[in-house]
Amino acid sequence: MAAAMELRCWGADWGLPSVHTDSLVVLAYSRFSGAKLTVSHIDWTWKTLTGGLPELLCGDSIVQEPTQILSFMRKQRFNADYELTARQGADTMAYIALLEEKLRPALLHTFWVDTENYTSLTRPWFASRSPFPLNFIVPSRLAGMALSRILLTKGEAPLHRISEIEGKIYSDAKECLNLLSYRLGTANHFFGNSPTSLDAFVFGFVAPLHRASLPSSHLQSHLKQLENLTHFCDNILEVYFSSDHPCPLPLPPPAVQESMDANLQKLTQLVNKESNLIEKMDDNLRSSPQHKPHRLDPKPSLSSANSSTPA
């Protein structure tokens, strides 16, 4: 057998084995493929200063980045993807690219840039897990890295301002969640009956958003409406991680009228999109004092959706 593998990652909280997206991806994949990892949380050590988490140590080699760690594990013959056809493997790559491009900026924004979430949840959590004096440095450094990543990839030069692209990244993220929900349908996993690397990636991205107690997040409330994704996360936690956590979640009763639920789901997604659009238009109009009042009343189609949205 291969040499013992050790994974360094951020610690556990909120009912998850780790709060960090990339670490969760690797942990989930290791459970799916049956690899035995010794997990060492780096909380309370000086290792929190070095970036590049999660890290896999095997013998002499150190591997970083989830995709590289996963391919390293595949070479060690821990492969959760061997049953996939070539086309499904191609689909996996495509969906992972979709997650990285559309969902990651919004997640970074929700946890690290949005002031309310950052000050009340993320910063205290990371600060409390770092030794003095790193608890002053580490959270703000991670927040700075998150902001620069969002601005450089999504910002429109030359005006690198976060407020202009907030609306866009959140609408992209909601669309991405909707697309994942359509693709998952009513199945338990994305391909067949056993989990694969795509399941690991989706779990890693979606689970912190699902479980963290964020004070203000419309992305989280959008996720809560996509029941198949939340069941997906809960299912994986229940089946693969329940031995670590003594309080398993009760499985929700099976959906009886599935087609009606699917239609209701689509309707709520549409209404949510429309109401979000109206909110943003409203905010924009209110914040621009010198706007000439010509042709600014919303079109009839939007206003009828407004009246049908439950307040």
Partner: protein, 260 residues
């Protein structure tokens, strides 16, 4: 553009049909070659998409096209009194005017299409930018000269260095800063392999040509027909024969028959 402005523009766009004098702007191509690989690929993708929809557009070359664009990215189209840049917003814009290629797809297929488009953007486009701006050989021999062609010294050097610095920052932010050129070629191979496996023996990625076909054609055709310092990238793409015949097919259907 902000979300509300986009919604407003699309409402206004729906009111007018596609005019005859729509123009697409890109950097100089032909006599004074200013356009780079990545910009040429994006521009060709948009042109292909518009041809697939049957929408007439004139291609105009301007040296400052990048600065005219509302988002700083090439290409952009000027239709009526609106300016829209990049393939994604252009697809939405033409959809608002009633021309869409992907209406026949169901939700799962549309999810797949978007995922593959992101794959191309994430891997192929980033790899093209990396090779152009972060590989020393290519930068010094090709890119710097081309980028500053329409300007005189020292402006051409200053602009080239500025753009290089910007692209390097972006590469570091997405984690490609530490990669070597060989790793990037490997990534391109994997991306082409995924596309090739998805395409299989079908003529298009889905039953009808969609914006995904336009995007893939734009990038692959440009890679196949552009000369770089070495032919490594070309060889890697060429090793997938179904992608080659896909490019040839689209070229014959949409470009050769229309040219007189």
């Amino acid at each position: 553009m902000s979300l509300a402005a986009e919604a407003f523009v699309s409402q206004m766009a729906a009111a007018e049909p596609w005019p005859e004098n729509a123009t697409l702007y890109q950097p100089l191509k032909g006599e004074e070659d200013q356009i780079l690989l990545s910009d040429s690929a994006s521009s060709l993708a948009v042109q292909t998409y518009l041809r697939m929809c049957g929408l007439p557009v004139q291609v105009v070359c301007r040296p400052n096209a990048e600065y005219m664009s509302p988002s700083g990215k090439i290409p952009f189209i000027h239709v009526g009194n609106q300016v829209v840049s990049e393939l994604g917003p252009i697809v939405q814009f033409s959809k608002a005017k009633g021309h869409s290629l992907s209406d026949g797809l169901d939700d799962v297929q549309r999810a797949e299409m978007k995922a593959y488009m992101e794959l191309v953007n994430n891997m192929l486009l980033t790899a093209e930018l990396f090779i152009q701006w972060c590989d020393e050989a290519t930068v010094s021999q090709i890119t710097r000269h081309r980028y500053g062609t329409p300007y005189s010294w020292p402006l051409n050097l200053i602009l080239a260095y500025q753009k290089q610095w910007e692209v390097r920052r972006k590469m570091n932010a997405v984690g490609w800063g530490g990669k070597t050129v060989d790793q990037v070629y490997e990534d391109v191979s994997q991306c082409c392999q995924a596309l090739s496996q998805r395409l299989g023996t079908q003529p298009y990625f889905f039953k009808i040509p969609t914006e995904l076909d336009a995007l893939v054609f734009g990038h692959l055709f440009t890679i196949l027909t552009t000369q770089l310092t070495n032919t490594e990238l070309l060889e890697r793409v060429r090793s997938y024969s179904n992608l080659l015949s896909f490019c040839r097919r689209i070229e014959q259907t949409y470009f050769e028959s229309k040219d007189s």
